[in-house]
């Protein structure tokens, strides 16, 4: 029974896999690190993907149900509503119409929704569920949410009368996608009395735009994203998980290199008894696969267990019902597969190296000679150049017709190539560091030489550390640039803008509504320490026609003509002396040959009436726009002087907006009071939107990046030094003090961290610059300094602290 010379087929493979599995079981302690890291990555990926999969779509589901668009008809004409809905049903095939009527909830500041919805509607199932009792079936019946029941101390069998009609409560209901949605469900007979109607439909964009029923004036269309929110969120997690797995793969490669070098004599023996290169390679690869399988299994158990444990408590936080069994199984399987692939790939690289070692060298247990660094340096230069070319080409791809897949692919390939290229510089960097060995004391010299001698595992460890630091450095750089781009923010910390809650866009309130609003503003001003309120007046064309469904009058606005239409740039305010003072301008600046002073640029148009699609270019262009130095984005962005206002025949009217300014930063208590007052007077409040997101991202990325890098260092330095335990014993026997042992570990950790910092920062900035993210200023010096100095110092310090243990005096040679 002779097989071919290239291998023994299935029996040989089975023998190799059996041996690999036995080794995995026997030497599991050496592989705990890899199994632990992979298990954590899989568990985190599965748990976070399950959370994202369930949480991400909740908001959209609450708005759209299972549909992808909704229309809102405000104050529909009861006479034409049935016709309109009938036409819609005929046009779309299926619709789900939901009636709404806002009713004040006595004793609270909250309004509730009197809702009419068909429980069996085609798209509304995710937004209506019966908790107890039954749905109302006649005009004298109602079903209510738990909150209404508990607030009014009523239940099934009680009566409810909030709108002048007494109804019997026949059940309790909820919106499973928004548990904070408080409503009373009425019977279908009440539909016609609705103040507004939401119509859910499932159709493509063209069909939606083509729906123009007779008398269609006041409608709002909202569209759901093309990709389901749950799928998008889960894919996002998968991408993050893949990056994490890549990081783990690098650490695992370093570990497998160590394991492979320990097994080198056995691998040599295997070769000596006639195993082919492929068979030798298979033992390590199978070991990797076994590691991956165990980690995938453990990770999925831990991840799913974690998800099942936290799912019930998520309902309160998310405000939506969560089904623990609604997990993305495809993603869980993908995560498990990724873990197995990661471990197999990590095992394959050292397996390939070991299988190429001459048998005699293997038998003697001598490590392979490091690959010449010039080869990896040349490869690195080539890969980086290819990456930069890809990114350069990507920047030239025309995206005027939407997102280009070619561009996305080029950016992805280019970024990966730049990252890979920088990581390939690792061996060269390690060799350069090792060159310093003769100039440093003996303990540090030994550490630096070992880094150079065991280049394979040092290189893998360095790649992992560089990646762990490169990602946060890129995030920090982008966050800092984005923070800079955002300017000073919307308002200062001592400013508020109060505005009429019922309107938005280029409209001002009816004059009759202003006194009440002013009263509210006065109360807000009085509640704040040393505050002043400035009424902002807007320009209005007296001839502008009112628009149906809008509780206000059209005012003059500025729009920027863009390809898709006109982009609203805000109202044109009247340049009163007080307002100009806010900008540090003189009153005369608003009227000397300049029509409108604005902070906006581009093709600016004056909008006197809501634009129609066919008349986008019919608006007057702004002549000689002067520059308005607007510090904060929510302050008026366009002003006109009183003189120009009169010349044009326009008038100054209260805009329904007030700028309130205190003498000191507003506290959260003051803001709460202001909001409560505003709510009572039909106002809404805009305060400083602290750009804490980006700042937090920057600080978080710095801290997390350093922690991850230090964790990777702890794992890999432990591995590297464990291989030099014999040297430590020799040093101890030669009388080396504890300080020498500490210095060796501290130098190893600090050296690797230093190189990781240099490569991480260089790689991140190279990638960003190659990606033509030009505006990378300001450079986040503080964060980068924290990473650049803090990581090596922390690594060296921790290495020093944890390396004091005296090694065992006698070495136990592994049994071969």
């Amino acid at each position: 029974m002779k097989a071919s010379t290239t291998g023994g087929g299935v029996p040989a493979r089975r023998a190799m896999v059996r041996w690999a599995w036995r080794l995995f079981r026997r030497e599991w302690r050496q592989q705990v690190l890899i199994v632990g890291l992979l298990t954590f990555a899989v568990a985190a990926c599965i748990a976070s993907a399950s959370v994202a999969f369930n949480v991400a779509p909740a908001r959209a589901r609450a708005d759209f149900g299972t549909a992808n668009h909704f229309f809102v008809f405000e104050k529909p004409d009861p006479a034409t509503l049935p016709t309109k809905l009938g036409a819609a049903k005929q046009y779309f095939g299926q619709i789900d119409a939901i009636g709404h009527k806002t009713v004040a909830m006595p004793g609270t500041t909250k309004n509730i929704d009197y809702r009419v919805q068909d429980p069996g509607g085609p798209f509304g199932r995710p937004i209506l569920d019966l908790r107890s009792g039954r749905y109302p079936s006649s005009a004298s019946e109602v079903a209510i949410t738990d909150w209404i029941a508990s607030t009014l101390s009523i239940g099934v069998g009680s009566t409810l009368n909030l709108d002048g009609v007494e109804r019997t409560v026949v059940g309790t209901v909820e919106n499973p996608s928004d548990l904070n949605d408080e409503f009373a469900l009425l019977a279908p007979a009440d539909f016609i009395a609705s103040d507004s109607v939401t119509m859910l439909v499932d159709a493509n964009e063209d069909k939606i735009q083509g729906f123009r029923p007779l008398g269609d004036h006041s409608r709002i269309i909202a569209a759901r994203g093309a990709v389901p929110e749950d799928v998008a969120a889960a894919i996002g997690i998968l991408v993050v998980g893949t990056v994490a797995m890549f990081l783990v793969a690098l650490v695992a490669t370093a570990s497998f290199v160590v394991i492979a070098q320990r097994r080198l004599p056995q691998l040599g023996m295997l070769s000596a008894v006639g195993a082919t290169q492929k068979q030798v390679r298979m033992t390590m690869t199978a070991n990797g696969t076994a590691t991956g399988l165990v980690a995938a299994l453990l990770g999925s158990i831990v991840g799913l267990g974690g998800w099942f444990a936290i799912a019930p408590s998520l309902e309160g936080a998310v405000g939506a019902r969560i089904d623990p069994l609604n997990v993305p199984w495809w993603l869980i399987i993908s995560g498990m597969f990724l873990a197995v692939a990661t471990a197999t790939g990590a095992g394959w690289w050292p397996a390939r190296t070991m299988s190429r070692i001459p048998t005699v060298l293997g038998l003697s247990g001598r490590p392979p000679r490091p690959i010449p660094v010039r080869r990896s340096a040349l490869l690195s230069a080539g890969v980086i150049a290819a990456g930069i070319v890809c990114l350069a080409i990507a920047n030239r791809v025309d995206e005027s017709n939407g997102l280009s897949l070619t561009k996305a692919a080029l950016v992805l390939v280019g970024t990966l190539a730049v990252v890979a290229g920088v990581l390939l510089i690792g061996p060269l960097a390690i060799r350069a560091l090792a060159q310093l060995a003769p100039r440093v004391p003996i303990a540090s010299r030994l550490a630096l030489r070992d880094l150079g001698r065991y280049q394979a595992r040092s290189g893998a460890a360095l790649a992992a550390i560089s990646l762990a630091l490169g990602i946060p450095v890129a995030l920090v750089a982008m966050a800092a640039a984005a923070e800079n781009g955002k300017g000073a923010g919307n308002l200062s910390s001592s400013q508020l803008v109060a505005s009429f809650a019922e309107i938005d866009g280029p409209f001002v309130p009816e004059p009759a509504a202003v006194p009440k609003l002013q009263e509210g503003v006065d109360q807000i001003v009085a509640s704040l320490h040393g505050a002043t309120g400035l009424r902002l007046d807007a320009a209005k064309n007296p001839d502008a026609l009112p628009e149906k469904g809008i509780n206000g009058q059209p005012a003059i606005a500025i729009g920027v003509r863009v390809k898709e239409g006109l982009q609203d740039a805000g109202l044109v305010y009247v340049a009163t002396p007080q307002l100009l003072q806010k900008y540090g301008l003189d009153a005369s600046d608003g009227g000397q040959g300049v029509d409108v002073l604005t902070a906006d640029t581009g093709d600016l148009r004056i909008i006197v009436q809501s634009p129609k699609r066919t008349d986008l270019d019919g608006f007057e262009a702004v002549v000689s726009p002067g520059t308005l130095n607007r510090t904060y984005t929510s302050l008026p962005g366009a002003v006109i002087s009183l003189a120009r206002l009169q010349q044009r025949g326009w008038e100054a009217v209260p805009s329904g907006r007030w700028l309130i300014e205190s003498t000191q930063p507003l506290t959260s208590a003051e803001l709460s009071t202001a909001r409560a007052v505003a709510f009572r007077y039909g106002l809404k409040i805009e305060a400083r939107d602290y750009q804490t997101g980006l700042a937090k991202l920057r600080l978080g990325a710095t801290a997390v990046g350093m922690l991850v890098a230090l964790s990777v260092l702890a794992a890999t330095v432990g591995l590297i030094r464990s291989e030099a335990a014999g040297d430590l014993r020799t040093l101890t026997a030669a009388g080396a003090p504890r300080r020498a042992r500490r210095t060796i570990t501290a130098t190893t950790a600090g050296g690797l961290a230093l190189l990781g910092v240099v490569l991480g920062i260089a790689g991140a900035y190279l990638g960003l610059v190659a990606g033509r993210l030009r505006d990378l200023t300001p450079v986040p010096v503080f964060d980068l300094a924290a990473i650049a100095l803090g990581t090596p110092l922390a690594a060296a310090g921790l290495g020093w602290l944890f390396a004091g243990r005296e090694p065992a005096v006698l070495s136990r040679a592994p049994l071969d």
């Binding site: 002779k2 010379t5 290239t6 029996p11 041996w19 023996m269 008894v273 195993a275």
Partner: protein
């Protein structure tokens, strides 16, 4: 497992040289070595440290390339063979015994012995049967399912010898096979090697021990990479105390 001794050459080395390094650091490990070992013959290689004994053995076992000359194993010119062909030759025809046993720690004694067979495609059941037979011949059948770390040094070396002779192996190469054993176990191992040769296996054994070398049919002395003497132990124990070994 027994086969007739037909005295055909199992190993032929002609003018084999091997050098390591290059330029000023070149080391000549073997220089023009000629050696022929016939089926059923046991040859002992002796010489001081660094004389090239182990290098000769690794070249004979196709574990290492040689710089010049010609090596024929069982009639096949090894210089013309690919790495995979040489691996196939080793797992089918050459048995190797190392000083430090070199058993795979994760495999039982029987699995270690059946390893070359399984690598060559023999089904595990059939390979195990053959391995058990080989262990039985060496008195190790009862220890077949023990792992190496559960065996004594002598037992481990017996397992290694069983692995080196299992199947149709015709060339047994042993590098200091008794180096890690006491004298009693050492003699036991030599008895097994001798027994294998009596069954027709050609054997080459590297040793420092003149007493053990006396088990061989012929003793070859190496010094500085050259064959300096050849003798037969039948000429008397004193013949093994050549200048080459006594220094």
């Amino acid at each position: 497992m027994s086969r007739s001794s037909d005295m055909s050459p199992a190993l032929e080395m002609r003018q084999v040289s091997k050098s390591y390094g290059e330029g000023a650091t070149i080391v000549e490990a073997l220089i023009g070595v000629d050696l022929t070992v016939c089926a059923g013959e046991l040859v002992a290689i002796m010489g001081p440290s660094g004389s090239g004994k182990s290098t000769l053995l690794t070249i004979a076992g196709t574990l290492e390339d040689f710089t010049s000359g010609e090596v024929t194993v069982l009639g096949e010119d090894t210089s013309q063979m690919s790495r995979n062909d040489r691996a196939a030759l080793r797992r089918r025809s050459i048995g190797y015994v190392f000083q430090d046993f070199n058993l795979l720690a994760g495999l039982t004694a029987a699995e270690n012995v059946s390893l070359p067979l399984e690598l060559d495609g023999t089904r595990s059941k059939a390979a195990r049967t053959t391995a058990l037979a080989a262990l039985d011949e060496l008195g190790m059948a009862e220890r077949a399912d023990r792992f190496p770390d559960e065996l004594s040094g002598g037992e481990r070396q017996r397992v290694a010898i069983a692995r080196s002779v299992v199947g149709d192996r015709q060339l047994l190469l042993a590098d200091e096979p008794t180096g890690a054993l006491d004298s009693v176990n050492g003699e036991g191992v030599m008895r097994l090697v001798r027994g294998a040769c009596k069954r027709g296996v050609a054997g080459v054994i590297v040793t420092h021990d003149a007493q053990l070398a006396s088990w061989a049919d012929r003793v070859v002395f190496l010094r500085d990479g050259r064959v300096v003497d050849q003798t037969s132990p039948a000429a008397g124990p004193d013949s093994l105390l050549s200048p080459a070994t006594s220094r």
